[in-house]
Symmetry: C2
Subunit: 587 residues, 2 copies
Amino acid sequence: MYDLLNKIDGPNDLKKLNISQLERLSGEVREALFNRLTKIGGHFGPNFGVVELTIALHYVFNSPIDKFVFDVSHQSYTHKILTGRKNGYIKDECFKDDSGYTNPEESVHDFFNVGHTSTSISLASGLAKGRDLLGGKENIIAIIGDGSLSGGEALEGLNVIGSEIKSNLIVIVNDNNQSISEVHGGIYKNLELLRNTKGNATSNMFKSFGLDYKYLENGNDIESLINALKEIKDIDHPIVLHINTQKGKGYKFAEENKEAWHWCMPFNRKTGKPLYNFSGEAYVDIAKKQLLSKAKKDSKVVVVTPNMPAALGLNQDEREALGEQFVDCGIAEEQAVAMASGIAKRGAKPVVVTNATFMQRTYDQVSHDVCINNTNVTFLINYANFDGLTDVTHLGIFSYSIFSNIPNLVIYSPSSKEELLEVMDYAIDEANHPTMILLPGDKVVSREIKEDIRNINKFEVSYKGSDVAIIALGDFYSRGLALYERLKNDLGINPTLINPRFASGIDKELLDDLLKDHKLVITLEDGIKEGGFGYKISEYYSDKDICVKVYGLEKVFYDRYNPDELLKELGMDTNSMVDYISKFLNK
Amino acid sequence: MYDLLNKIDGPNDLKKLNISQLERLSGEVREALFNRLTKIGGHFGPNFGVVELTIALHYVFNSPIDKFVFDVSHQSYTHKILTGRKNGYIKDECFKDDSGYTNPEESVHDFFNVGHTSTSISLASGLAKGRDLLGGKENIIAIIGDGSLSGGEALEGLNVIGSEIKSNLIVIVNDNNQSISEVHGGIYKNLELLRNTKGNATSNMFKSFGLDYKYLENGNDIESLINALKEIKDIDHPIVLHINTQKGKGYKFAEENKEAWHWCMPFNRKTGKPLYNFSGEAYVDIAKKQLLSKAKKDSKVVVVTPNMPAALGLNQDEREALGEQFVDCGIAEEQAVAMASGIAKRGAKPVVVTNATFMQRTYDQVSHDVCINNTNVTFLINYANFDGLTDVTHLGIFSYSIFSNIPNLVIYSPSSKEELLEVMDYAIDEANHPTMILLPGDKVVSREIKEDIRNINKFEVSYKGSDVAIIALGDFYSRGLALYERLKNDLGINPTLINPRFASGIDKELLDDLLKDHKLVITLEDGIKEGGFGYKISEYYSDKDICVKVYGLEKVFYDRYNPDELLKELGMDTNSMVDYISKFLNK
């Protein structure tokens, strides 16, 4: 099955093969990809589309002297397979050895740990500049998908290399006419024109950025690729090689439904159906249903997303039904947030939908374009949780530290279905300030709301007791509740349990009240502690007669962790917390 | 002197004038600009270049129904003069009534409080989308300088309006072939080609973004402007009107030296010389000298800046002397930071130079492109201080809250010349992690270094005492010292004074040590408290037997404040702090 692949331990082994062997190798690589992806899932479409390109790259160039920078790096599986990491694909027991992204800790053939879009040209421009300063001569090659071109960092990169780099730098634009969902933006008309004219159209976005340009029509043909790459190898100035590939190539279902197969869960190869069905209601479904219903009733409600309708599971039918009430900016987070501010200013009701890890690309737009102007933008953010996405490049655990310290922004972390529905109504229809709603990832629960959502920064007391107060935020409210019950049962005390709801401010009145009959306040949050919620509580009490224990994550770039194990390590499992409190009370 | 201007209280008054009167008006507007700028300084070049354009805009369009969005809005002075705010220019006692930027609190003709570059197209696209959802019909006009076009948010905006807006949206590209300093980037070759061909070149960046396009050669001629604007008024799709203007027009010195006159201090109109000379050494000069000297000795040192060499006062001669060791990315902060990461990865020594307010545009690049990859990038950041830039859009006081919670990043706040020099050496030559150096704005002092800079997060004890410990960071170390002296003199106690040096971590050993013989720890920082330095100290002590009082700014968008008055309001003047401590000790 892996006749050729078995002999490939690095790029040099590849260079010994002839074209027809390389073509056979591409089939074996796809088999290896199937082996991993059917069993543990991952980025399907991007990787199946660039098998031939990656083989040709390693055939022509001399990695790691010549340096590849894969944009997003979710299309780097073939690169990994060819650079000594095939076991992560062909041996099930080795799946965990490899991340889904390039990773310098895994191999000298990788230069950056990346997972965010539109960074490759900028990073590669730095490698090129560093090479020039050190007198190096190698090729620097950025490989970027057309979907990533819409991001500001990529466009800035094209502009800068168009004039400031006067030496070798190769940008391969892997054009499959698809982003995560369909492409959005004026440049895609130009890419289409270029494809239709085999690169000969006089209107050429890359040339207007001051760049040299070549086009290759069949980006899935190894021989053509090798010839095209040989032509530009060792070139003495920046050039764009625009190639046309097919996303998901080699698997019918993925070729036909590119969006669904951008990323996959474990699946049955024959049927294309996922192996596991997740049943039951999730908060993200509740939020989507509510948003669609609100949009139907009120034509001023508009969903704005940087190509992440998937953050809410908004499928194509739902997007089409939204019509003019749906704006996909392509992967362009800054534009999405600033545009939302303009929409709100004009009196409509924008709801920005994306994942937490991508929101961090918009600190300035949230602060400068939205919050200084105090426009009524609603941010509906998925995966701000601790046990959602665990790749180091996609962590949501920094959300409180990034956004909870921006004036005017109200951050709400619901912990029940009722809260989620209520805060969406409030944020979209009533608020006169920006609101960020962090979607819970926890099991859905139903609970009566005791405090009006309109009372900003007012905490809700679930159970009033004494001695110990537990303030448990958002997704960790359930852990607070578990702790509350254990304290009652094991220690025989009657603690107070509080759902703070708001992550961006504190309820000073309630905190003052706790001073009367509490000795210890426990805070629990599913984000890093520094810059986060618990720190606000501990500072408020810092010169007062009460102790505070802040539970949360450390300021660390965790990578592919096991959530339960990590909590245990951090002393945040219920047993450890009960121990701490027990010792504290017996002091 | 202001014959015509005296009669202009709003755009309607302007519409009554004929062309020759409008031309005379442009002279009077320039007189008004001179009056303000010679006396209190401000953005000179951008405003003198767009007097005619702004008059024509208000003549043709119907503000505030039709809506203008000025990019950066540092070129909005004429707009202000024509919309009821001329007193802020012609009456010296009213200068303070107007900010240097558009400001909805001042006038219904302003829609956004902005001061950051490259935001106008995105914000305007939102106004257009909002208008469409609400069934409005007005014109939306973004006015953007060529220098702002290099920013990712602007390029994202062009891409999105090139396909997603199918209604009226006018983008006026005010091309004066100059950014803050000279322009950098491939698109400027295209703009030059378009200017040289009167807009007729087939290679056209705007068209390649899918946009309709028109060119106007004489952007300082009112009649031509009026005709061009009339032609596109009420257009039913997005269009770019590319006009050629002269930055600083109407003042010889500014026309000849565009960079120096981008922004000016109060000056003598006859000679062009500043009215006041600032003598004495500043930290920024020390840093520049050190950086240039290091670059001269080591060809691997390279300065990377998003068009902000001014942040370090790097003039043209100095930039030219740096040669290949200087990279100006144009206004493109994301590119600058990611490129620096690539440079460091390849083994050279990048130093990113800019102002704090612009660094906030790069949270994701600092976190994802630099810190996850732990590349040895040095950030040399000016105006992170509390009393430097006080416009709401340019505050540096959020720096700790933004950056001190990112793993791997070491933030150093020097408080003496020796520290600054030493930390620059360490960061550039030795560190194996990213380092952000926040340049002090305080008076330069000289002080012996007691703790090796290599001991990351080790605080330096200036004076060891008991009862009260003062931990005073960066620019506020001098205030800590003043407090220390007052406590000794007034209260007769012998406090401990600590220079923490590092803003991104705490010295747990020292903090534990303080527990032995201190009752109160005072922290002082020149940033907002939430998410900042003092919160880290207070949390560390939160379940220990010691009180902490955190002094810093509130989570507020302060605007054009008086630093001393604000400190007093916040109880941070020395008297108030002595009072607090006195009361605490007598409790």
